[in-house]
């Protein structure tokens, strides 16, 4: 009760502070009056009485202060007072304030944005009900590590173990796909899942329903469930979507529901799933080959999760799966002989779902990369912070006089430090707010781009807490040292401000250390940038073994317009004839997909002579008649595809010289045979050998170096053509426009998927490495700019402090050159040390990167790590640039000091 009373009293005294304050004044005033009256009554004249009353009374303000203290509101008052005073001060120094807030805002913004990505990928909670009873099941790869479940049949066998699993579900790894909406083709990420999906996870569709068992049967009409984010963003949360039909890869799909609002997809990495379809729809949607479309067995990488039965443990589930693994090996021997990306061994691994974030093999590298990126932006924050600290130091020194006046007036050092700290905290909080705005704005910008997937970045509480903590830590760490230093002044010396300032000859001062750190970190960042520029250059210089100039492509998909396959073929032939007739067109051809799109496939080579054995990995590229001529790929032996190669004639292939040499042991491999590893009836005869194209499109980058490659023709493969590629003697851009006109002339309703020149396609495929290089370059540049601002501030301040000394020296006949030199020498030393440290760290980082990535560039999971060369020229260039910028920052104020008239300099305060 008493506690409540005190609390109430304190709250009241804070809330009604102004009222209390005037009450207190009035109360004390009355006291004085009564005292005066009393003294007057003893016979003193009025004025005399008042003075004596005042004397007796003592300090009115002190009493007020003591009364306030008695109420326990003093710390609050002090905080309010410090904040007000700090704000006034910062508003007055608005130039300094805006610079500091901008610097911090950029750094905190970059950190917040990056953290929000990491947050989206790694830290978001899973919304599953009772997650402790969920397990993940993986078939192991050849080295015994958990990988993926490779077939629907294997999943079905797992689901049979109902004594340990209450329910089991499977979902394919996300498939890139496309659908027609509002007359435009949109990219979509599709997951093929089982009817049990939501029940196992303990989720509920936010609208409509999930598909049921009958809809999961092969041959059932395809139904789908939209992702919640997609429904909101693309379909504007239209509730009438349920029951509507959308065409995905040309196939009609009836929407029956919208997915759970808090669930983005099976792999929760910030990419949202746009559509869930029944797993049996997988061959229909993803396969371009009618033969595999009707195949009864579904082979696809699947994620399998199960809910443990009451009482069952992960260990029991593991024991059951060990038995199943051996049975699968006996029943599906072929599955375990498959080579290539998804080669499995009979082992099966069961892991508690809570122990896995993305995938047991990908979690560690993902964490590593996330922390690497966080370290990089952290470096920028470090520069910004040390920069702010330098600015505060300089400002603190400039305020030495104010500080000493306040100390002389009776302020305690603690009060002053608290006050200065409040200022730096206000600055860093301002920076934090600016940072959050910048980060939010940046993320809006990213999300407004139509990427081939839905990115779900939100500023949730974790990101905000991160930004706030970051601001506080920044404010305290980098405000405390300058505040302590600023309040440690020699009162008399500063107040008199006369005589020469003792020149600081110490080398290891806080300011010097900060400058060295800033320069070193900027060099490190620039060094990091140089690695990525190198990477970019490395991909650029790959030989492009096909024509680029004058080549244009146009991709459409007649399935979206509802054409049957035969009708579509006729339309394409018509379109091809019209494009060949465009003036200037030298050659044109049809193919499925875009040119140089590569698929890695395991193949079996007949009568092998090479060392690798008969089962090897090859890159498969799509082509057709006219393809090699259009792209000017030189034929070395045999012939290329033509009208003789039809669906009813024996299968043929054109291979590269590299494949001929490596897999057939001779350049002239015409007449030799090979087949797809998983299809014994797919023997194809080599009819020609062409020059290796050098590069191909593996991971959205046309300039990926490719494995030994072969081409197949759409006239035999069953994959319907979608793209016309043509070469003109004139301008490729004009050809693109002309081709689009022809397309509209054939059928105005046909959607254009791609209309581009080959040059643009090459350019566009480098967006990712370019973005990384730009990102790091911007960070490095930002760091350098920040470091030079800090340098400039420090040097100009040091020079200003020495103006009097400089004036005397000038008056005594020193030449301005000598003065400038004297100053520049000191600064050059600092920059030299900073640059040296930065270079050393850069080389260390590169060596570390080389050590972790082994030989050449290799892939960890889906992330490839590049092995950088230590490029002495680039490092030297970075060092020189840094040194020049640094010295220039020092030179300007030094020049100004030396140019000053000696008299002015002497009077300079």
């Amino acid at each position: 009760m008493r506690f409540l009373h005190i609390l109430r009293s304190r709250v009241r005294s804070i809330v009604f502070r102004d009222g209390r304050e005037s009450d207190l004044s009035e109360e004390l005033q009355l006291h004085l009056e009564r005292e005066t009256e009393r003294l007057q009554a003893t016979g003193l004249p009025r004025e005399e009485a008042r003075l004596q009353a005042l004397r007796l009374f003592g300090g009115v303000e002190q009493i007020k202060e003591a009364a306030r203290d008695a109420r326990g509101t003093a710390p609050w008052d002090a905080l309010v007072r410090d904040t007000r005073q700090g704000l006034r001060r910062l508003v007055r120094d608005w130039r300094f304030t805006s610079a500091a807030v901008l610097i911090l805002g950029l750094a905190i913004g970059a950190n917040t944005a990056i953290f929000s990505v990491v947050n989206a990928v790694l830290f978001r909670d899973q919304p599953f009900a009772d997650p402790d009873r969920l397990v993940n099941i993986y078939q192991n790869d050849r080295s015994g590590k958990p990988m993926i479940v490779i077939s629907y049949a294997a999943y079905k066998e797992m689901a049979e173990y109902t004594d340990v699993f209450a329910a089991t579900m499977a979902a394919s790894i996300p498939n890139p796909s496309r659908y027609l909406h509002d007359g435009a083709i949109r990219n979509a990420v599709v997951e093929f899942a089982t009817a049990t999906y939501v029940d196992v996870l303990g989720l509920r569709p936010s609208l409509g329903r999930w598909f049921d068992e009958t809809e999961e049967r092969p041959g059932a009409p395809i139904v789908g469930v939209l992702g919640y984010q997609t429904w909101v963003r693309v379909f504007r949360a239209d509730r009438s979507i349920v029951g509507r039909v959308i065409r995905i890869e040309g196939a009609p799909v009836t929407i029956v529901g919208v997915g759970p609002a808090n669930h983005r997809g099976t792999i929760d990495v910030g990419l949202g799933t746009d559509l869930w379809l029944p797993i049996t729809a997988l061959p229909v949607i993803t396969s371009q080959n009618p033969a595999t479309r009707a195949a009864p067995a579904i082979y696809a990488p699947l994620f399998v999760k199960a809910r443990l039965r009451e009482g069952a443990t992960v260990a029991r589930a593991q024991a059951a799966m060990d038995i199943l693994g051996r049975r699968l090996e006996a029943e599906y021997p072929d599955d375990f002989r498959r080579a290539g990306e998804f080669a499995v061994s009979p082992g099966i691994t069961v892991l508690a779902s809570t122990d896995v974030r993305i995938h047991p093999q990908a979690d560690v590298p993902f964490m590593a990369i996330a922390s690497l990126v966080l370290v990089i932006v952290g470096l920028v924050l470090a520069i910004a912070c040390s920069n702010l600290a330098t600015l505060l130091l300089v400002r603190g020194a400039a305020r030495a006089k104010e500080v000493s006046v306040r100390l002389a007036m009776g302020a305690t050092r603690r009060q002053l430090v608290r006050h200065l700290l409040t200022e730096s905290l206000l600055l860093s909080l301002g920076g934090g707010v600016a940072g959050c705005i910048l980060a939010w704005w940046g993320m809006q910008a990213v999300q407004s781009i139509d990427l081939p997937f839905t990115v779900d970045l939100t500023l949730d509480y974790r990101v905000l807490v991160f930004a706030i903590v970051l601001s506080f830590v920044t404010g305290v760490t980098f405000g405390l040292a300058p505040a302590l230093k600023a309040t440690k002044v020699d009162l008399l010396q500063t107040l008199r401000d006369e005589g020469l300032q003792p020149v600081d000859h110490r080398r290891l001062t806080l300011k010097n250390a900060l400058i060295v750190v800033q320069v070193a970190v900027s060099v490190l960042l620039l060094g990091g940038t140089s690695i990525f520029v190198q990477l970019l250059e490395a991909t650029r210089t790959h030989r492009v073994g096909f024509a680029v100039n004058g080549v244009a492509m146009l991709e459409t998909d007649l399935r979206f317009a509802g054409y049957s396959e035969n009708a579509a073929r006729a339309v394409y032939d018509n379109l091809l004839r019209r494009i060949q007739a465009i003036p200037g067109v030298e050659s044109a051809g049809l193919l499925p997909g875009l040119p140089m799109e590569v698929n890695g496939v395991p193949i079996v080579v007949d009568r092998v002579t090479g060392e690798q054995g008969s089962e090897v990995e090859a890159a498969m590229l799509e082509a057709g008649p006219g393809f090699f001529d259009t792209l000017r790929i030189p034929l070395l032996y045999g012939r290329v595809f033509d009208a003789r190669d039809r669906a009813d004639t024996p299968r043929v292939a054109v291979i590269t010289d590299r494949m001929a040499r490596q897999y057939f042991g001779a350049l002239d491999a015409v007449g030799r045979r090979f087949r797809l590893q998983n299809d014994p009836n797919s023997w194809a005869e080599v009819i020609g050998v062409v020059r290796d194209p050098g590069t191909g499109d593996f991971d959205d980058d046309v300039l990926d170096p490719i494995a030994p490659a072969y081409y197949r023709t759409y006239t035999q493969s069953g994959a319907p053509p979608t793209t016309i590629v043509a070469r003109s003697s004139g301008d490729a851009a004009a050809l693109v426009a002309a081709m689009q006109r022809e397309l509209r002339a054939v059928d105005v309703t046909l959607p254009v998927l791609t209309a581009s020149t080959m040059a643009r396609r090459l350019e566009g495929s480098q967006v990712a490495p370019k973005a990384v290089a730009t990102f790091l370059g911007v960070l490095g540049g930002l760091g350098l700019v920040l470091a030079s601002i800090g340098l400039y501030a420090v040097v100009s301040f040091a020079v200003a402090r020495r103006s009097r000394e400089i004036g005397i020296r000038m008056a005594l006949g020193a030449r301005s050159q000598q003065v400038v030199w004297g100053i520049a020498r000191g600064v050059a030393g600092l920059i030299g040390v900073g640059t040296g440290v930065g270079l050393f760290l850069s080389i260390l980082a590169m060596l570390a990167l080389r050590a972790t990535s082994g030989s050449g560039d290799i892939g960890i999971g889906s992330v490839s790590v590049y092995r950088p060369d230590i490029d002495p020229v680039a490092l030297l260039a970075i060092a020189v640039v840094t040194a020049i910028v640094g010295v220039a920052a020092a030179f300007v104020p030094a020049r100004r000091a030396a140019g000053m008239h000696p008299l002015v300099a002497l009077r300079h305060e």
Binding site: S9, L30, E33, I63, A70, G72
Partner: protein
């Protein structure tokens, strides 16, 4: 004036509470009353009176109300609360025990 004694820290609370136990009073009157009753032996410093009043109010032992002073000005009149009366009793008891003890010590040595 020099034979006046400043009120001891700690006993001020007791004196203030005892004084306003009879009737509500404002600050100046409290100081005057303590001085009068003690035959000018005790002097209350304003510097400690007002903080003491605010502290006692904050602790809930006394409350203040605005009223008219003898010269017809607005003044804060302090009075004891219920908890204050109980507190006063314990404080008086404590003081009596203490002063009895001190007296005993002074007389017997």
């Amino acid at each position: 004036m020099s034979d006046q004694t400043d009120v001891l820290q700690g006993t001020l609370d007791l004196l203030v509470m005892r004084t306003i136990a009879l009737e509500p009073m404002h600050g100046w009157a409290i100081a005057q009353r303590i001085q009068q009753i003690s035959d000018d032996q005790l002097r209350v410093q304003q510097g400690s009176l007002y903080p003491a009043l605010h502290r006692l109010e904050h602790q809930g032992w006394i409350t203040a109300e605005w009223g008219a002073s003898e010269n017809n000005r607005r003044a804060r009149f302090y009075s004891l609360t219920k908890a204050g009366r109980k507190q006063l009793e314990t404080e008086v008891e404590k003081w009596e025990r203490l002063s009895a003890g001190v007296n005993l010590v002074l007389r017997r040595t």
